[in-house]
């Protein structure tokens, strides 16, 4: 199953339209059980595609869709999929990573009204090429990225020796956690000498 998600904030019709068109080309695979596009081995059924479309105006005709999920259902969808296709949002990237799923990213563009700025392009530039992360610069490149991600699934992407991507840890690195903890418990932060006034930390909180 391919899971498509636009995140929790804004619609992303450009991604949903493109994935709906992609899903349409898979119809013959679904019906006949083989694949004219050559993406599946003989007899292998085409995968289902499910999309979370948010407040999008475009309603897909060729794939199952919902507007939003509870967090539990969203995680279940990620867990149950083979591949995530998403906007280049860190929530999508981190969640796919924590579940060991490959992800194809299409960055939102401010010029299309898809976000307030182009930071998703910056995010994608940083992440592209890492194991299990495939960046489509435009919606026309989604098909090729999906094929590459699927080839990665088969060939053994990432570092897992068993051919599967290794899931990342679910907590930040311990050094960062330690600094945050020390601050919460009342450690001074001399790096911020001009900071705003604070209440004294509880005397018994160390």
């Amino acid at each position: 199953m391919i899971f498509v998600t636009v995140g929790s904030m804004f619609p992303f019709d450009r991604l949903i339209r493109a994935m709906d068109a992609f899903a349409a080309t898979r119809s013959s695979c679904k019906i006949a059980g083989d694949c004219a596009a050559g993406e599946h081995a003989a007899g292998e059924r085409a995968e289902e595609i499910v999309a979370q479309i948010g407040a999008g105006g475009y309603q897909p005709a060729h794939m199952r869709w919902v507007r939003g999920y509870s967090r539990a259902d969203y995680l279940r969808a990620v867990l149950g999929c083979d591949l995530v296709v998403a906007h280049a949002g860190m929530g999508s990237v981190i969640t796919a990573g924590e579940y060991g799923k490959p992800i194809v990213l299409l960055p939102r563009r401010a010029a299309f009204g898809e976000h307030n700025n182009d930071h998703q392009a910056d995010t994608a530039a940083w992440l592209g090429g890492r194991p299990g992360i495939h960046v489509a610069q435009g919606e026309d490149a989604l098909g090729a990225c999906i094929a590459a991600a699927r080839a990665g699934i088969r060939a053994g992407d990432g570092k897992g020796g068993d051919g599967a991507l290794r899931a990342i840890d679910r907590a930040a690195p311990p050094e960062f956690l330690a600094r945050l903890r020390a601050f919460a418990l009342g450690a001074a932060a001399p790096e911020f000498p001009a900071g705003p006034p604070v209440r004294a930390a509880r005397a018994d909180s160390r």
């Binding site: 967090r71 949002g89 690195p173 330690a178 919460a184 790096e191 705003p196 604070v198």
Partner: protein
């Protein structure tokens, strides 16, 4: 002995996913949550006394304001004031965006809480707009990319990945 009380306040989506990765920093402390999702994650740490058979994690939902929803700021100021008076946190930490900024600002004004701003790891090239605005209300004003830090702030203490 009273435990340190932490409030973790942020938007849903990527901001919340990043917040979940730093929550272990506050293990053992009293903790409550402010977010924009309809409901809390079922597996949230409820702090001392919580967990199976104990009380559920305290979660407060607020309006998902952004620069596209300026009217919502009136609503969230009211919501946040109520929440802060009820919870009275010692520490308020946020991974952004605008709702988190409101939590820091009001917590600083109303309670003089210790405040932490952590700009999103997604911002690889520049501090976010709300991150810039957080300077005056964050005791710890942090970015997740060292090249974005400066001697006068924001500072780099690490990243969620």
């Amino acid at each position: 002995m009273a435990k340190t009380k932490v409030m973790a306040a942020c938007s849903d989506g990527g901001h919340w996913v990043q917040m979940r990765r730093i929550l272990p920093a506050f293990a053992g402390m009293e903790i409550c949550y402010v977010g924009t999702a309809p409901a809390a994650d079922v597996d949230l740490d409820a702090g001392p006394g919580g967990g199976p058979g104990g009380r559920a994690a305290r979660y407060h939902r607020v309006r998902n304001v952004s620069r596209r929803d300026p009217l919502g700021f009136t609503v969230i100021l009211w919501q946040m004031a109520r929440i802060l008076r009820a919870e009275r946190p010692d520490v308020i930490v946020t991974t952004g965006a605008a709702p988190g900024l409101v939590a820091l600002a009001m917590g600083k004004i109303l309670l003089r809480s210790r405040t932490v701003w952590i700009d999103s790891i997604a911002n690889t090239e520049r501090l976010s707009m709300s991150g810039r605005l957080a300077r005056s209300v964050a005791d710890a004003w942090l970015v997740q990319w060292e090249h974005l830090s400066a001697p006068e702030g924001p500072r780099f203490w690490g990243a969620v990945l």
